[in-house]
């Protein structure tokens, strides 16, 4: 993404000054963006009394996992909610890929009358937010006997991942050279073989982008999970956090909340750090178009 250039020592003073100005300003901003996360993590490992007395301290005298243990007593226990979140996120990722990859292939490599109109309809899903059709979705899930079920939630998440994912996959398949496909066809490869053996390897970075967005969005989604899940054993991590943060008899267990926040946000941060370039590619896909 960036060309790397070292700053040689013997540069004019003005340039060195401007470099240090940049580094200082950047560092201050970086601290502002980092500190809330660092404070929260630090406090999740502090015993309650110490967290209350010195919330801003980064290191505490005693390291403790007591907050994480108390989180086991919240509702059905945090690992139940973590399992639900993992199931929903993996389900959404798998199903989104399974549906969006063939669709992107179809939109990229086939032409038939009405195809552009169809593509516009798919993309319109992006213009209209899912918040505005929650009420009927609630009835449809009830009709399908999928209310209060993780499967129902996955189906909704997949639907709203689709426009972006199909758009990404179409662009990914557009990048596959025509000649390569022709050659394979002459060699007698079937449609399915062409898709699996030639197209997919080239389109794989696009699949990674799609998977990453599907994971993060379904892991973090709050409103639909709040509305469609009513059984305590079905809740996801964000719902658990809100239940902890609303307290019991007006008393909020801040320590357990910190532990819960850590469990909820760390997977996202680690995934982002590991697969950053796929994420940024997805973001800029819209901007460059």
């Amino acid at each position: 993404m960036e060309r790397i250039r070292r700053i040689p020592a013997q540069q004019p003073l003005s340039e060195r000054l401007s470099f240090w100005g940049f580094a200082l300003a950047g560092l201050v901003a970086a601290l502002i963006f980092l500190m809330p996360v660092v404070w929260s993590l630090a406090n999740s490992f502090k015993p309650a009394a110490e967290a209350l007395a010195h919330p801003a301290a980064l290191f505490s005298k005693s390291f403790s996992l007591e907050n994480y243990r108390r989180l086991e007593g919240v509702g059905a226990g945090w690992y139940v909610y973590a399992t639900n979140s993992v199931l929903i996120a993996l389900g959404t990722v798998a199903l989104t890929i399974l549906v969006a990859v063939p669709a992107g292939y179809g939109f990229s490599k086939f032409r038939f009358p009405g195809q552009s109109a169809l593509f516009m309809i798919v993309m319109a899903t992006m213009m209209i937010p899912f918040q505005s059709i929650l009420t009927p979705l609630f009835l449809i899930l009830k009709f399908l006997k999928l209310q209060n079920s993780l499967t129902g939630l996955v189906l909704i998440y997949v639907t709203f991942q689709l426009p972006f994912s199909i758009f990404m996959m179409r662009n990914a398949f557009d990048a596959v050279p025509r000649a390569l496909i022709e050659a394979a066809r002459i060699d007698g490869a079937s449609q399915a073989t062409i898709l699996r053996r030639i197209m997919l390897p080239i389109a794989l970075p696009g699949v990674a982008t799609v998977a990453m967005f599907a994971f993060l969005n379904s892991w973090n989604e709050f409103l639909a999970a709040l509305i469609f899940l009513s059984d305590q054993n079905k809740f996801t991590l964000p719902i658990m956090l809100v239940n902890v943060s609303s307290g019991i008899y007006g008393i909020i267990d801040w320590g357990a909340l910190q532990a819960g926040i850590a469990v909820t946000m760390l997977p996202c941060i680690l995934l982002f750090l590991a697969l950053q370039r796929y994420y940024v590619r997805g973001l800029t896909a819209g901007a460059v178009k």
Binding site: P102, R111, I133, F213, N217
Partner: protein, 312 residues
């Protein structure tokens, strides 16, 4: 937005794509590949979209008889002060938060737009809060802000700036202020990346030429950089306005609509009508109004976006 990080690519224009690509021998086979996605989009998007309109014409309780009442829900909407208040509040929030995000993201984009390893590191750090969900971020800020054991209260007291811990959530403007602060922290990195793509698309020789002509830093920025990154500025604007109009999580979690119902956003009032009072028909009518407002806003913005700078 509840899918806070969906990038929503700028209106794709299939017509603009080269159709020169020779088609597959059997074009209709493509439909087979698309079929599963069309089932999803029809069943869980198009049908509910139609149902929203249909339901809005009914008195539709969760249990009990559904009754056709024509436009009565819309007539009621017109006199629903709480709804108008929440729409007004959502607009106020959208204007303020979008301005705040732009004011932070543009300097950040300019700061990290240099070919240094350190700049790449800064980019990653500024972007990090974007991938944390609004649920986790909101509860995290609830703790930061709480007067008893929160970090802000301790730091402010420690610095001797205040005598007693501030309670920002107890009155309207401070509550709105801290929400905006939280949202800027969480989403500025996203806008920064969008603006950065615009900045990086500006040819370096244009800037060089201006430098040689003796243009000052300020006039280079105003007369070259800003006009040339116009499209990514507009895209950032569209994405921020749409997502702010749909804000829910932070108001549900941090302010819980308070103090005295002053921070109930539009989506929040739909939630209350449909899933707290279980007046599904009325909630659908509200949804439909919000939908029309949103589509209108984004069409106007996208119309601007489609115009190339050289045409205007």
């Amino acid at each position: 937005m509840a899918f806070p990080t969906s990038p929503a690519p700028a209106a794709p224009t299939p017509a603009a794509r080269p159709l020169a690509q020779p088609a597959e021998p059997k074009g209709w086979l493509g439909l087979l590949f698309m079929a599963p996605s069309l089932v999803f989009i029809t069943g869980l998007f198009l049908i509910p979209l139609g149902m929203t309109l249909w339901m809005s014409l009914h008195n539709w309780p969760l249990l009990g008889r559904v009754k056709f009442i024509g436009l009565a829900n819309y007539a009621e909407l017109a006199h629903d002060m709480q709804l108008w208040h929440s729409l007004g509040f959502t607009l106020l929030y959208t204007v303020l938060v979008t301005a705040a995000i732009m004011a932070v993201a543009l300097p950040l984009a300019l700061l990290v737009d240099r070919p240094l390893r350190l700049a790449g590191l800064f980019r990653t750090v500024y972007f990090m809060p974007v991938v944390i969900g609004f649920g986790a971020a909101s509860t995290l800020w609830m703790w930061l802000l709480n007067p008893d054991s929160g970090v802000f209260a301790q730091l402010l007291r420690g610095a001797g700036l205040v005598d007693s811990a501030p309670r920002p959530l107890e009155s309207f403007w401070p509550a709105l202020g801290v929400i905006i602060l939280m949202v800027v922290w969480k989403t500025a990195g996203f806008t920064m990346v969008i603006l950065l793509t615009g900045l990086q698309a500006i040819p370096a020789d244009v800037i060089e030429a201006a430098k040689i002509d003796g243009a000052s830093v300020f006039s280079r920025f105003r007369r070259i950089t800003l006009p040339l990154m116009r499209n990514s500025l507009l895209l950032a604007l569209v994405l921020n306005v749409t997502s702010s109009m749909l804000a829910f999580d932070q108001f549900f979690i941090i302010t819980q609509g308070g103090p005295s119902n002053s921070t109930i956003s539009a989506v929040f009032s739909i939630y209350l009508a449909s899933f707290s009072s279980y007046r599904l028909g009325y909630g659908a009518a509200m949804s439909f109004v919000l939908l029309v407002v949103l589509v209108a806003i984004s069409s106007v913005q996208l119309a601007f976006l489609r115009q190339r700078p050289e045409e205007s």
